[in-house]
């Protein structure tokens, strides 16, 4: 079987269960696919085939011994900010050059225990700051649907790898839309679980109160399976919740009768591209056609989301990133005294967007500005949370666009941070409120670029995302379309 790399997680599991292929076969097939297409896409930063084959062999042995499991033998690509013992973890930065993780993130440990194969580290915006992966200091990642365009970000490598059939599933992280937006740009599924659902232990922190580990996959069911493995309470993360994972057994019936689906017009009034609006509205009609009831709701404080986010996230980041000082790990620029060494290391190691956000965060926490910025942003955050509470008292899920536009051209927006920041408006609210959300492919622009439908639900009702997402996905064929990638070994930088 030569096209194993193109299959979904569930298809591969069925094949392995039937004895028609092994985990080793899958890894080998993926390896060949990556060799063929990733020169052009540039999703991967690092891979260790021998190590992956070893993990795959172990999974094959477990399966031979009668073990079954959702993730047993499935290769997973890892966003570069998750700690995997013995691997590098550069977070798309030059500053962590040489750092080798001494431990597994909790989500990685769970994958390992389930027999998944950690295969490859994928690119991202430096320290997850960005929406195009152009802020990576380690290389350019391209959108498999149009190599001149960005894959979105910050989990751009995770999305591009899945879209290019160069990964079965991948882990990303979503602080302001960093899983959902690249999924939308690349035409794959992107799940952001509720805050506290997946342990953040081992996820290099960008903004601790907003960060959540997420999944990028080819189908909604694949995302649900991966989520079922990595989710759950973790005593190592004080913000992790003690609530049981949702029962997803009824989520894959395709049945939407009795579901109330909210639509808030505010989400279409933020400069949404007409083609995006048309595709999303059509998708909502489609969902109604599957038996769901459409409920108009309002989200009055959406306009404050971006401003609040770009105060809270940089404030937290400015302290989270303080530890990258060259003292204990990573790159170091020497100097005569330690404090000077720390300054020089940070000056040389961080890229411009990271520096911009550290400065922003330092500023808004400074004495005299704290109340005017940080405290006010927390108030806006509370209002947005209240908007969600009201919305979800009237409906089960909220539907809308993920990003106002499809993928833009490389270099087009990178020098205009404010425009870039505004592109996060539809995804940020879920992070501010701690809710769950998902992007599902729902069409293409006239230029052939994927468009995503955003489904939002309360924090610990991910089952609703799966139910609506799966019903929609299985009654459309957007998820089955594949980008035309010539299997040549093009190098990053070629067009």
């Amino acid at each position: 079987m030569s096209d194993l790399y193109a299959k979904s997680l569930r298809e591969l599991r069925a094949l392995m269960d039937a004895g028609d292929c092994s985990s080793r076969d899958i890894v080998q097939s993926l390896h060949e696919r990556i060799e063929a297409v990733d020169g052009a896409v540039g999703a991967y930063l690092e891979r260790d085939l021998q190590n992956a084959l070893k993990q795959a062999a172990a999974a094959d042995e477990r399966r031979a011994a009668g073990e079954k499991g959702a993730m047993l033998g499935i290769p997973v690509a890892i966003k570069d900010l998750l700690n995997v013992k013995g691997q590098s973890c550069r977070c798309g930065s030059k500053l962590l050059e040489g750092y080798v993780s001494p431990y597994d993130a909790t989500c990685i440990a769970k994958l390992r225990a389930a027999g998944a194969v950690m295969y490859g580290r994928v690119n991202m915006d430096e320290f997850a700051m960005g929406a195009s992966t152009e802020n990576s200091a380690l290389g350019l990642t391209r959108n498999p649907w149009d190599l001149q365009r960005v894959p979105g970000g910050s989990s751009g490598g995770s999305a591009a790898a899945v879209a290019a059939d160069a990964a079965i599933v991948s882990l990303g992280s979503d602080t302001g839309g960093s899983v959902r937006q690249p999924a939308s740009f690349c035409g794959c599924v992107g799940l952001k679980p509720g805050y506290g659902r997946v342990s953040r232990y081992g996820l290099t922190a960008f903004a601790s109160s907003l960060d959540q580990v997420g999944v990028l996959s080819k189908t909604v069911a694949d995302a649900a399976d991966t989520f079922g493995c990595i989710g759950g309470y973790d005593p190592r993360d004080s913000t992790s919740v003690r609530q049981a994972l949702p029962d997803v057994s009824g989520a894959f019936s395709g049945e939407l009768k009795g579901m109330k689906v909210g639509v808030a017009e505010e989400f279409f009034g933020v400069g949404v591209d007409p083609e995006v609006e048309a595709a999303v509205r059509k998708a909502i009609e489609h969902v109604a056609g599957l038996g769901a009831e459409i409920v108009p709701v309002s989200f009055p404080h959406l306009q404050y989301a971006v401003a609040a986010y770009y105060i809270i996230a940089p404030a937290e980041a400015s302290t989270n990133l303080a530890r990258f000082d060259g003292v204990r790990y990573g790159a170091r620029v020497d100097a005569d005294d330690p404090v000077e060494m720390m300054k020089r290391t940070r000056e040389a190691g961080f890229g411009p967007e990271v520096k911009r956000r550290i400065l922003l965060g330092t500023y808004v926490l400074s004495s005299g500005y704290y109340d005017a910025y940080y405290v006010k942003a927390l108030k806006a955050r509370a209002l947005i949370k209240r908007d969600f509470d009201q919305v979800f008292s009237a409906c089960d899920v909220l539907l809308g666009p993920v990003s106002p536009t499809p993928a833009y051209r490389i270099g087009e927006e990178i020098n205009d941070p404010l425009t870039m920041y505004k592109g996060d408006i539809c995804t940020i609210p879920a992070n501010l409120a701690g809710g769950s959300g998902m992007s599902v492919p729902c069409g293409f622009s006239s230029e052939g670029l994927p468009i995503g439908l955003q489904i939002l639900a309360p924090a610990f009702s991910e089952d609703r995302l799966f139910r609506v997402g799966h019903a929609y996905e299985q009654s459309t064929d957007w998820h089955l379309r594949k980008p035309q990638l010539s299997a040549s070994r093009r190098k990053t930088g070629d067009n």
């Binding site: 973890c89 190592r236 004080s238 000082d325 330690p338 404090v339 926490l365």
Partner: protein
């Protein structure tokens, strides 16, 4: 109006928990450098803090012992500044909602009592330890993440003696609460001093200097004595002082300016998003309150009332909790002779402690052994001189007091015949002294008594010797 100093102290106390505040690494400053560490206390990417509940309990216990109010909600904040010994380049501390508020303790200086108010107690993390070598600097992160409690006073202290008395009283309470090892050499207690001078009765305090990182009480006393004199002189001469941080140079006995107010850090405090707040229920706080240890004042009163000790003895014994505990065990084993137990501890035991610098808990002589010696003396089996000999042996070698008395033949001789023989010999050999005694010199009796004891190698029962001696002299 005369000038008057005003002092406030911020005392950092390392808690004696088994593990660190955010991770399960052992609190062990003696481990080889950087061996008691993990990704959490090294601030590795992705690591997260989880609060040690025992550290919370010990902080609250301290608060309860000091009469603080314990709010039902408190939280941790990040305090940002860059320094290599701080793994995350921010310290997790408590800014505006600490674990304990208010309270205070009584001190006594020169016979005058004074109540020193506490402002707050908060719980934070200690940092690593830098070592500067000739060509490089090294950092040991074993200490990083040790639970550290900061106890902040109101500006209620007026001079170095009061500051010293406060620290001594505080240390005693910390020991009683078993919240810290209180070992100053190990840096378990470290202190920042805030001091200013102003006209007595002035509404506004003077310009303050902060003297950082004092690690002995003696040092605090000396530094304050110097600094108050310096400020008084400057203000007296009409100089304007500037707010600054100063360093105490113990060798030269002076304070020196480190940095002015303009170089002060902006710590950019904000709530740590990695930690949920601390919620304490009334039931929890009351459960801890009901388990509080007896404080020195109460214990002293009990020693007087139920053990019948003189005030002075009780005061001496309760000064150090370990010594007081030791005394109680001696008394319990003494067969009811608490006064004798007090005498033993205050004379023999405390002498040994001050000579050797040892802690009473590590003495080879166990309290039960001294209790046994007291009973042997009270039973007439051992005289007090020989009891001290046994004590000396126990101190060196340990062992069972009864065995030592037996194997070394130290038991008191109370055999009338044997003692009579010694007495006769002494009377016969010292006719002149006997004459002196009979001639009305009672001091001569002491000499004769000493001679008898010498002959018996100290084993004779002294009251019996005295009785027989008097008897025989009356006959002669």
């Amino acid at each position: 109006m005369p000038l008057q100093a005003t002092i406030g102290l911020e005392t950092h106390v390392q808690l004696n928990t088994r593990t660190k505040i955010w991770c399960s690494c052992p609190v062990n400053a003696d481990a080889p450098p950087n061996t008691a560490v993990c990704p959490v206390c090294l601030g590795y990417p992705g690591s997260l803090p989880v609060l040690n509940r025992e550290a919370v309990r010990k902080t609250v216990i301290t608060g309860l012992l000091l009469g603080c109010e314990i709010p039902k909600f408190s939280k941790h904040d990040r305090k940002s500044y860059f320094y290599p010994d701080m793994p995350k380049d921010y310290q997790i501390t408590q800014y505006d909602q600490p674990l304990c508020l208010g309270g205070g303790l009584e001190i006594e200086v020169g016979g005058r009592k004074k109540y020193v108010r506490i402002n707050r107690i908060h719980l934070e993390e200690d940092v690593g330890k830098s070592t500067h070598l000739a060509s490089a600097s090294g950092i040991d992160y074993n200490r990083a993440g040790t639970p550290l409690m900061e106890i902040v006073t109101e500006p209620d202290l007026a001079n170095e003696d009061e500051a010293f008395a406060y620290l001594t009283a505080l240390k005693r309470i910390l020991q009683y609460g078993d919240v810290s090892h209180c070992n100053l050499e190990q840096g378990n207690i470290r202190c920042d001093i805030n001091v200013s001078v102003a006209e007595a009765g002035a509404k506004k305090l003077g310009v303050k200097a902060e003297i950082k990182n004092m690690n002995t009480f003696r040092g605090v006393h000396r530094a304050l004595a110097y600094e108050i004199k310096r400020q008084l002189k400057a203000v007296g001469q009409g100089e304007t002082l500037v707010q600054e941080t100063r360093r105490w140079d113990d060798d030269r006995g002076v304070t020196q300016s480190m940095r002015g107010k303009e170089d002060a850090h902006d710590y950019r405090y904000f709530p740590d998003p990695d930690l949920a707040g601390i919620v304490l229920t009334v039931e929890q706080i009351e459960a801890w309150r009901s388990g509080l240890p007896e404080l020195p004042d109460r214990r002293r009163a009990r020693f007087v009332e139920s053990l019948g000790l003189p005030e002075g003895d009780a005061e001496v014994l309760v000064a150090d909790k370990d010594v007081a505990d030791y005394f109680e065990q001696v008394a319990a084993a003494s067969g009811g002779n608490a006064k004798a137990a007090a005498n033993w501890v205050m004379s023999e035991v405390m002498r040994v402690l001050s000579e050797s610098g040892e802690n009473v808990t590590s003495l080879k002589v166990r309290p039960g052994d001294i209790g046994a010696l007291i009973r042997l003396v009270d039973a007439g089996t051992l005289n007090s001189t020989k009891a001290k000999e046994v004590f000396a042996i126990l101190l060196e070698e340990g062992g069972d007091p009864h065995e030592i008395v037996k194997t070394r033949g130290l038991a008191q001789v109370s055999d009338q015949g044997a003692i009579k023989a010694f007495v006769r010999q002494v009377v016969d050999e010292n006719p002149k002294v006997v004459e002196d005694y009979l001639g009305g010199k009672p001091a001569a009796l002491q000499f004769l008594m000493g001679q008898v004891m010498r002959l018996s190698r100290g084993k004779a029962n002294p009251p019996m010797v005295l009785e027989l001696l008097k008897e025989m002299l009356a006959e002669s």
